[in-house]
């Protein structure tokens, strides 16, 4: 994973350029007010088409992306990521959702989003998450960690950590702690590892979530016509 930024403090020197994609104007303005001063909102969009256009024009560092969006072919946030596939190297997507449904969340993650947070998140937390995603890390909410544990099972992989369909013992521990509401820093302290190692584990889990062919995950993908 691309861990170019300082990982102990994920805040980069330059302000992060952000595009907010959400169909609720009230939510967009609220979110804009919540984001810290070192985050510049360079564009907003309310539909799939607008979002793809704005992202292509602005080339932001991070896109805050609602999972459910009108327009396009009905694919919502997933379709925006697919439409901006050429920028996936430089632009990172952070999914925002009120939805509790696993298939929605997993669909955007598998499309290429670097994380998922719920819309009830506080201003400080969302700011932190934006910096983290801008730095190339993955952002897991407790709920997403719960989904991952549910999908991959809570038994560790027997052999190599490399297997895509299972989580290693360490990754499971990290996911469990995140599901329990621990921040990355607290996870690091609890497991006696560095924050950078925690981030590496989370990124590895994200990669597995995106690439695994576990039938639970491919089933969701097939239902959302991702394959």
């Amino acid at each position: 994973m691309n861990l170019t930024q300082g990982t102990a403090d994920p805040r980069p020197a330059n302000p992060v350029r952000v595009v907010i994609v959400d169909d609720h104007a009230i939510f967009r303005s609220g979110l804009k007010a919540d984001l810290g001063p070192s985050i510049h909102v360079v564009g907003e969009a309310a539909t799939v088409e607008q979002a793809v256009a704005v992202i292509a024009e602005q080339r932001p560092d991070v896109v805050l992306l609602d999972v459910h969006l009108p327009g396009g072919l009905g694919g919502g946030g997933r379709e925006v990521i697919a439409g901006s596939a050429a920028l996936l190297g430089s632009t990172r997507f952070l999914a925002l959702s009120v939805s509790d449904a696993a298939e929605d969340v997993v669909a955007v993650i598998r499309a290429g989003a670097r994380g998922y947070v719920t819309k009830t998140i506080s201003g400080a937390e969302i700011t932190d998450a934006v910096f983290r995603v801008a730095g190339g890390d993955a952002v897991f909410s407790p709920r997403l960690a719960g989904f991952v544990l549910d999908a991959f099972g809570t038994a560790p992989a027997d052999i190599a950590d490399d297997e895509l369909d299972k989580l290693s013992a360490r990754e499971l521990e990290v996911m469990r702690l995140i599901a329990r509401g621990y921040s990355y820093k607290e996870v690091a302290k609890e497991l006696f590892i560095s924050i950078k190692t925690v981030e590496t584990h989370v990124s590895a889990v994200l990669r597995k979530l995106q690439l695994s062919s576990r039938h639970e995950l491919t089933k969701w993908a097939a239902e959302r016509r991702l394959l």
Binding site: D100, A101, E103, T154, A155, G181
Partner: protein, 477 residues
């Protein structure tokens, strides 16, 4: 009942020479495709019977794609596509089960809604154990018992029909071989018997179908009524014609009219089927419309009322937050709940306890659950203990409380974490029963463990319960 083998549904396969009938049949019966093809060819030589059978299956059996679509068709909702899918963190396994299993589950749910013995709760819990990677077969198993009963009754009609046809064929062969069959008495008797049994079947069908599904009732009843009417008409015509002429003439007339009728049916069948499908899709549209109306009514009753309340209490931030959280919970429960899964499991109880604490104190309590378990007495104690822990965390911690439940049939763990100032158990006076009695004592009495830790940034309560048989070990680090 349990000895009925589970066969894959009969569907025309994509591995086809003509229409995929033979390979589909082979998959369904578990026979080699070659045997089925050769058998079909041999049967074709026997007076074209194979050809007729093939054509029949071609018309009646859906392709694999159609079958999957039909099974996967679930009520859609305009709010979110996710609504119609079973979801929520605790209900993964039903959501990932194959469409066929989902259909089973839906049928089973309907059956259990009627006063029928449901699956034993211990077995019924296993589909929710998605965390341990249970396969789709596991997920479908507990529902199998009621479903099979439903199915064997449904196929009873087909079996009866087959027996009747075989009987007719036997009589015809006997006649061709020169045996003198007393048709004059046999046919009216058969007509009467057939009519009676069809009428009985119709009655039974409508009653049972009415329990299972209202819309299926008119469809099944209509077919039965049609068949009964046909049988009666044929019998009547037969008696009339046989009164005026000889049996040879009657036979000839009957044969030619059957031939003409058969020809007409053959020509009209595609149109009839098309018409039937249009009707089906129209009916599906009506169901969607009804569902939309139901959603609108629900939103009006709950959400709009809450919004009105919020506007009137806009000055009191605490009340507004509490109302909003309560409404959110209610709406989520309504939208994302999987109707197929069993209610009253451990995760539901923990969520209910969290909601209660949230309502009482106004601080958010976020529950993440992985897996699930059926409630036992010890689990009940665990729910009470975690409720106490949530209450303490919410009151003393002051912020959002994170609750994580990981459960299987073997063991359940609950973690309740807050970000408050934290406290040491040794600092709590002896006479304060809250923590010592309601959490630690309660867990110990039921063979579980409880640990309270100061994590530096708050307090975490860890509850652990292993099912009977295994010794409760010390809580995890």
């Amino acid at each position: 009942m349990a000895t009925i083998p589970v066969r894959p549904p009969l569907a025309r396969s994509s591995d086809r020479v003509i229409a995929g009938v033979c390979s589909g049949l082979a998959v369904h019966l578990g026979w080699p495709v070659k045997n089925v093809r050769v058998g079909m060819a041999l049967a074709t030589l026997a007076g074209g019977a194979g050809l007729v059978f093939y054509a029949w299956l071609w018309i009646m059996v859906p392709t694999a794609d159609e079958a999957a679509r039909r099974n996967a068709r679930r009520p859609a909702s305009p709010i979110a596509p996710a609504v119609s899918q079973p979801s929520g963190p605790g209900a993964f396994a039903p959501g990932i089960a194959s469409p066929a299993v989902q259909a089973q589950g839906a049928a089973a749910a309907d059956m259990t809604a009627a006063p029928l013995p449901g699956p034993p709760s211990a077995a019924g819990a296993s589909p929710l154990r998605g965390a341990s990677g249970s396969s789709t077969a596991d997920a479908g198993q507990p529902e199998a018992t009621p479903w099979f009963r439903f199915r064997s009754m449904k196929y009873g009609k087909e079996i009866l029909l087959g027996c009747g046809l075989l009987l007719v064929a036997g009589i015809m062969i006997a006649q061709m071989l020169g045996v003198d069959v007393p048709l004059g008495t046999l046919i009216p008797a058969a007509a009467v018997l057939g009519g009676a049994s069809i009428a009985w079947m119709q009655l039974d069908e409508t009653r049972r179908a009415g329990l299972v599904d209202k819309t299926k009732a008119d469809q099944a009843g209509g077919w039965a009524r049609l068949a009964a009417g046909l049988a009666l008409v044929v019998a009547g015509v037969l008696v009339m014609v046989s009164g005026s002429g000889s049996w040879e003439q009657t036979w000839l007339a009957l044969l030619s009219s059957v031939a003409v009728l058969g020809g007409v049916v053959l020509v009209l069948l595609p149109w009839a089927l098309k018409f039937w499908r249009d009707l089906e899709s129209e009916r599906a549209g009506r169901i969607r419309e009804m569902e939309r109306a139901e959603i609108a009514a629900h939103l009006h009753d709950s959400v709009l009322q809450t919004l009105a309340l919020i506007q009137r209490r806009a000055g009191n931030e605490h009340d507004v937050v509490r109302l909003a959280r309560a409404q959110e919970r209610e709406l989520r429960g309504w939208l994302f709940q999987d109707p197929g899964r069993e209610a009253g499991q451990l995760s539901d109880r923990i969520k209910a306890a969290a909601a209660e604490v949230e309502d009482l104190l106004g601080n958010a309590v976020e529950v993440v659950s992985v897996g699930d378990a059926a409630m036992t007495e010890a689990h009940e104690a665990m729910v009470q203990a975690s409720r106490e822990a949530m209450f303490n965390a919410s009151r003393h911690g002051g912020g959002t409380v994170s609750v994580y439940l990981e459960a299987s049939e073997a063991q359940a763990e609950i973690f309740i974490k807050d970000r408050g100032p934290g406290f040491e158990l040794s600092d709590v006076p002896e006479d304060r029963l809250g923590v010592r009695e309601s959490i630690i004592g309660r867990m110990k009495r039921h063979g579980g463990t409880a640990a309270i830790l100061n994590t530096g940034t708050g307090t975490e309560v860890r509850l652990r319960l292993q099912s009977a048989g295994t010794d409760a070990a010390e809580g995890k680090p």
